[in-house]
């Protein structure tokens, strides 16, 4: 499925697995902000190609393996 800006890939969180450690928002502040309880809010519109590298890093760093890239 294509996001609003036409990017095929998108970030997704398994909110059951997520523990709100917040590393993802530090690595990828362009697309991930934290809510008032520390849980990630993913920006709409999909994953732009220029942020793919950072996104991959965020996925690898998540200690709960809760973040993934869906294509």
């Amino acid at each position: 499925m294509k996001g609003r800006t036409g990017h095929r890939a998108r970030l997704a969180v398994d909110m059951i697995a997520c523990d709100g450690r917040g590393l993802c928002a530090e690595v990828l502040p362009e697309l991930i902000t934290l809510d008032d309880w520390g849980f990630p809010i993913i920006a709409r519109g999909g994953l732009p190609p220029e942020l793919q590298g950072q996104a991959g890093e965020a996925v690898r760093l998540c200690p709960k393996l809760a973040l993934r890239i869906e294509r």
């Binding site: 398994d14 909110m15 059951i16 697995a17 997520c18 523990d19 709100g20 809510d35 008032d36 309880w37 520390g38 849980f39 809010i41």
Partner: protein, 454 residues
């Protein structure tokens, strides 16, 4: 849980749920000719009854299901007929039934059907009444659905108040060798989120009534990895009638976009609270009229369910009871609940109570739901009590929680209801800020279980 609160004097008395023992009643008129398509009720028995319809009576009224040989062509034709009928799910989400059927049918693997009669919402009663009064129509629908998607088993998850009635109906069918499909009844978990599709599958599979973090659709991989059709019990009852009478018959009532009849639970300040069957598109005023109309002057209606919307009673009165018709006031038919709020009650107090209940009913799996709904409920309680809530915080949190923040739609549904309350009761919010409350009746017009209010 006090079910009596909503059904005292109701036409479709819920007292019948408890009464399992019953005599077999023969229809004195014998088999009836096909009923006119416009005639209601379609699903519920005619007139007052608090006994389940037995197999003989059921067949006398509706006739037998059409015979099929499991042929692929029959399956395709009936799914096409369901699409023509425009049947949409009656569990709250309103998803087109034909699409769901086709998705599961196309898997090519042995599928399974789950008839969802969990109805975890405290004041909704339509699925319980349907299962208690017309269990065979639901079972017919489950059997038809199973044949359509290539399943040899259908599991009926029924609210524990009515599961024995459904079990008895299954035994009756087994004795009559009515079906080639295995029917199994599982008493539902009595929790709000237990009715969510993946939670129902989780409950059957592992006895845990919580939504799952499903990456694949249930139609691809559901119960024990099998393609799974989860369908509300009322939807299946309509399917059983479409299989008999076809799409044109089904569309004879309802609106062009939302055809057919639907069951509604009318609760709160109406004369005879209970479950009624209406044509979709009936003006809201007439829908309330089925329950004898308002028992006192009203200020607002909670439409759709606890995940529904508050709407101004006067603005809604002339609108058609359909998702299209209610759109101008931000409502949708949801799971068919209408709860009427007396003008003497405070909408903010009621909203705070319902929100606190919903926050407590979180499955406790996702952070935004656990912490966010609790925080929102807390601010609403301050608002209701006149303790000086921060509307800014409330709106900030609503923005953070409004869409897609959980594994299921529990936060989305709760926040949607809260947003509507802040709009509809905006005048009351201003008054509360000044230390006034217009409410003169005791809180609790919209019932929630006692445990949630401590």
């Amino acid at each position: 849980m006090d079910w009596g609160a909503i059904d005292s004097g109701g036409q479709r008395s819920a007292a019948g749920w408890q009464r399992r023992e019953s005599r077999h009643r023969q229809d004195p008129a014998g088999p009836r000719p096909a009923r006119p398509p416009g005639q209601l009720p379609r699903l519920l028995p005619d007139g007052f009854t608090d006994e389940p319809t037995h197999l003989g009576e059921h067949l006398a009224r509706h006739g037998p299901l059409p015979a099929w040989g499991g042929a692929l062509r029959w399956r395709e034709e009936l799914i096409a007929e369901v699409e023509l009928a425009g049947l949409a799910g009656r569990g709250g989400a309103g998803f087109p039934t034909a699409k769901k059927l086709a998705a599961v049918a196309s898997s090519g693997r042995r599928a399974v059907v789950v008839a969802n009669g969990t109805e975890g919402e405290p004041i909704s009663a339509k699925d319980k009444v349907l299962l208690a009064q017309a269990p065979h129509l639901v079972l017919d629908g489950a059997v038809v659905a199973a044949a359509l998607v290539g399943a040899n088993e259908a599991i009926i998850v029924a609210h524990s108040a009515v599961s024995d009635i459904v079990k008895a109906a299954v035994v009756e069918r087994r004795r009559a060798r009515a079906d080639r499909i295995r029917l199994r009844v599982v008493p539902a978990a009595d929790q709000f989120v237990a009715g969510e599709s993946s939670a129902v599958v989780h409950w059957i599979e592992r006895g845990i009534p919580k939504p799952m973090a499903t990456r694949q659709r249930l139609s691809v991989s559901g119960l024990n990895g099998r393609p799974t059709l989860v369908q509300n019990v009322e939807t299946l009852a309509h399917l059983a009638l479409i299989a008999r009478h076809g799409a044109d018959w089904f569309r004879a009532v309802g609106t062009a976009r939302e055809p057919g009849s639907m069951l509604v639970t009318l609760a709160g300040a109406v004369r005879w609270p209970g479950v009624y069957e209406i044509a979709i598109g009936t003006p809201v005023r007439e829908v309330l009229g089925r329950a004898g109309g308002p028992s006192v002057p009203l200020s607002a209606l909670l439409i759709g369910g606890y995940f529904g919307s508050w709407v101004d009673a006067e603005a809604a009165a002339a609108l058609p009871f359909s998702t299209e018709g209610l759109a101008p006031v931000g409502g949708n038919v949801g799971a068919g609940l209408v709860a009427a709020l007396p003008a003497s009650a405070c909408g903010l107090v009621e909203t705070a109570r319902v929100t606190r209940y919903l926050a407590g009913e979180s499955a406790g799996q996702c952070g935004p739901c656990v912490f966010g709904l609790d925080a929102v409920a807390g601010q609403l309680e301050r608002l209701a009590d006149g303790r000086g809530a921060s509307l800014g915080l409330l709106h900030r949190w609503i923005g953070q929680l409004r869409s897609g923040r959980g594994a299921c739609k529990h936060p989305d549904g709760t926040i949607g209801m809260v947003r509507s309350a802040l709009e509809v009761f905006s005048a009351e919010i201003d008054l509360h800020a000044e230390g006034w409350c217009t409410g003169t009746t005791e809180a609790g017009v919209i019932p929630v279980p006692a445990w949630s209010q401590s």
